[in-house]
């Protein structure tokens, strides 16, 4: 679910690109290889998009893992294997280059659900379409996250094609449940072999494509945590009301699980319709640091608030706050959101039933130092105290917030790469969107973990998702080839930065 946040965060930045000045040895040879493999690199992405893994629908789950494994072996990993979990299997791979420095990489190989009827081209086709930025691939997973991940794989193929050794070793973990809030990802990391390999890494990043229209990108140092919860009110569990949908006239004498859900939900946020009202919700919320507020303010200064509002279809922020205050709040405020309501008859018009069951799909966003377990237990205690202990709290996934210090080797090497490439960047202290970085930054690994990359795309989680392939102005915004070379350059830069820091 990372890239959707880029839609907003991208708008917070505005910069000017400067000429590229690379340090990569015999870079021309690599550029030439990347260019000559353009069609192959694109075809790999199209084939990947054609095979969706959607954990919520239990779709393409073993096939997607096996495909991921093969993609990694093809890219030069010496070993890649499936890692069983309680849900969809993960993939673990290592590429030992005999280098003194090891980089960790996180991939998600699953994608969000989609409705083909809402798309202008089939979501699994990966059709090339014309956009103002250039030629883009359209398909589910294009930007979130197969496109950027394929750019990273393409970088590894460039090493292979030119017969080069990588300047760093790579240890990679991939999961197939990111879009259902990574319920089992910690199990992959807890596997002794995986954990031992990850311990060697200087840090971890997830490839991203967050360049905005000016060419500026960001290093995402942190992210809110996310927890997915279904609150279910049912006659079955309540012992009152019907156990199935019955004729609505009977509501005169039969209790309603749907009204009960409304009454329970009503207690979760204040009358303002957004502030969490669950007891103790804010107990462990840590305020933004002065540096984090400074970074946010820097972004706001350069941003176009009107454009962001227009893209979102939003006329004003909560409480009519100004953009700076709203931007602090976006990073700082924990939320309890209703992502879906479903109960009884949901088709056109009406159908006179008293539903036996009603469900609210919630997602929580957590900030440091809230944890998933803390919030779930507080939610349950809150409901129980108000007599709603029959309401089922089904936690389908989730993890806490993540934070990485900007003064780490990982981030420093990334800043160096961006500077050398002359790409304007921001340090984003905390994205409102989430990724399971806490599995790396939290115990036991406690490694730096960020989002990092160039290139661009949009409509993550939405119809007509896209990722830029051929940029009209490649010096400003990267297409596939530029994103590929960016990762090539980064691997050399990481080796250099690590060497310098020893």
């Amino acid at each position: 679910m990372r890239n959707a946040c880029a839609v907003l965060i991208a708008g917070l930045l505005a910069t000017v690109a400067t000429p590229i000045s690379a340090e990569t040895p015999n870079r021309a040879e690599l550029v030439s290889s990347v260019k000559s493999n353009h069609a192959t690199n694109l075809k790999r992405l199209q084939d990947w998009i054609a095979l969706p893994t959607i954990a919520a629908e239990k779709r393409g789950t073993p096939q997607g893992a096996e495909h991921m494994r093969q993609l990694l072996l093809d890219a030069g990993f010496q070993q890649a294997k499936l890692v069983p979990t309680a849900g969809v299997p993960g993939v673990f791979a290592t590429l030992d280059a005999g280098a003194p420095t090891t980089l960790g990489i996180y991939f998600m190989y699953d994608v969000k659900q989609y409705d083909p009827a809402e798309w202008s081209s089939p979501p699994l086709e990966g059709r090339l379409v014309d956009r103002p930025e250039g030629k883009a691939i359209m398909g589910r997973g294009a930007v979130n996250q197969k496109g950027p991940e394929n750019a990273f794989l393409s970088a590894l193929h460039a090493f292979k094609a030119t017969g080069r050794k990588l300047p760093v070793n790579i240890v990679l973990v991939a999961e197939g449940e990111e879009e259902i809030a990574s319920p089992n990802f910690h199990q992959i990391i807890a596997t002794p072999e995986v954990r031992a390999a990850m311990e060697k890494a200087v840090g971890v990043f997830i490839p991203g494509a967050g360049q905005e229209s000016t060419g500026a990108t960001s290093i995402d140092l942190g992210a809110k945590g996310a927890v997915e919860i279904q609150l279910i009110s049912s006659g079955e569990n309540w012992g009152r009301g019907p156990t199935k949908d019955i004729h609505s006239s009977l509501h005169a004498i039969v209790d309603s699980p749907a009204w009960r859900l409304v009454k329970a939900l009503d207690t979760l946020v204040k009358e303002d319709g957004h502030t969490p009202a669950v007891e103790g919700w804010f107990d462990n919320v840590k305020p933004l640091t002065a540096r984090q507020k400074e970074l946010i303010a820097e972004g706001v200064k350069k941003s176009n608030e009107a454009e962001i509002k227009s893209q979102l279809g939003v006329k004003q922020w909560i409480d009519n706050e100004d953009f700076l205050t709203a931007s602090y709040r976006l990073a700082q405020q924990p939320t309890i959101n209703i992502q879906g309501l479903v109960g009884g008859y949901t088709g056109p018009g009406g159908k006179t039933v008293l539903p036996g069951r009603a469900e609210a799909k919630l997602d929580l966003r957590l900030v440091p130092n809230m944890t998933k377990d803390e919030m779930v237990s507080k939610l349950k205690a809150h409901l129980a105290k108000r007599g709603f202990s029959d309401i089922i709290v089904n936690v389908s996934g989730g993890y806490g917030p993540t934070e990485t210090d900007e003064n780490t080797l990982l981030v420093k090497s990334q800043i160096n790469t961006l500077k050398q490439a002359g790409i304007e960047y921001s340090l984003n202290p905390r994205t409102a969107g989430s990724w399971p970085g806490v599995v790396f930054t939290g115990p036991p690994l406690k490694k730096p973990a960020v989002g990092f990359g160039i290139g661009t795309g949009g409509a993550a989680h939405a119809p007509n998702e896209w990722y830029l392939i051929d940029s009209k102005d490649p010096k400003k915004i990267g297409g596939l080839d530029e994103a590929t070379m960016f990762y090539v350059d980064y691997l050399y830069e990481l080796a250099e930065t690590a060497k310098a820091s020893r």
Copy 2:
């Protein structure tokens, strides 16, 4: 939506059948004709079921009206014509027998939505299935209301086949929007030609099939009114929140139409989760009369509460009331029911969106002397007073409650018919389920209007809806032939009762 109430009400009654003793002239000839036309009468029902009219889905709307018209002409009506409305057309037909007495008949030719996946045989096939009661037809509309209506048409065919004149004239109105709460039925009655014809009727009934397992049936003297309402909260109309679904992380700074709907809904019923809390809701509620309570108590005495609860999947009534108190409440209590909740993502698992729109599908049940207009305007005023004037109140259909006095020619003639047939009956003062009888009992017509008939069926509005065709014990519970003869007998009885009262 009538017959679903029979599921409950049927359980309220238990009686013993006595032998039939008819007054119909040369009844044997008619019985013989009905028997020899059994296959034709069944085939007519199957063909009708094969052509569903579903107003909520705008399905089969002109075809259903034309088919209805043809069915009436085939049954002997001299004229039958479509009556345009703002929605689905009605049908108006007259059968002038030159008799001094005119009977009004109400038909609905539409049916409820269905999901074939939930049925054990295709819902439009009208397959014959074995049941404890005998051979039954299974299909959407089987009992609600095509089966009972086809029995009435079969009665008219018996007159035609034996070359007899009807003992009464008939004026019939049919609508195709009963299942969306008859939003335009008053327009049909307001048509001068229809109104003039209806003015001549002694009263109106809708054919029904409410015999329970003991053979007892009921005359439904009254029914609650019903109003269908969609409450819609949207960013578009509110001017806050998003105008479309956006990434859920943005709820930190963007208001939520879904939470707003929850907050608005919460004000509509009390903390008990069922008592309407809309200001002034009970202002015009008229208590049950002593006679109405007496009739309800009579039914309760003979009923099997445990069986009803088991059928409904309900362990206790609201407030743990005893069955008599609950039965009073069923007739007396106006309700605001949530028939459906739908907003944002409604599929399996989650999908991290902040929905731009959320909707609650409500249905109101009204008792005398509440009216549709009164309740809709009170609901709107209630929401506006609490600052929710942006919530859209979309009234998709509805009508007020209906009541008919038992001391009317129409009801007396029906009681006489039941007595002569030796069929135990109850007078049901008010069904909790609704039908638009108020269009007849209210101004300007002010005619008696009831539900009336024998035969049986079940699962109205539900999968596997059925109607009994060949009864294993026809003297106890009527199949198609017995229901047909019952209406034949009734037409003679009405003529006699009318004559005696002149």
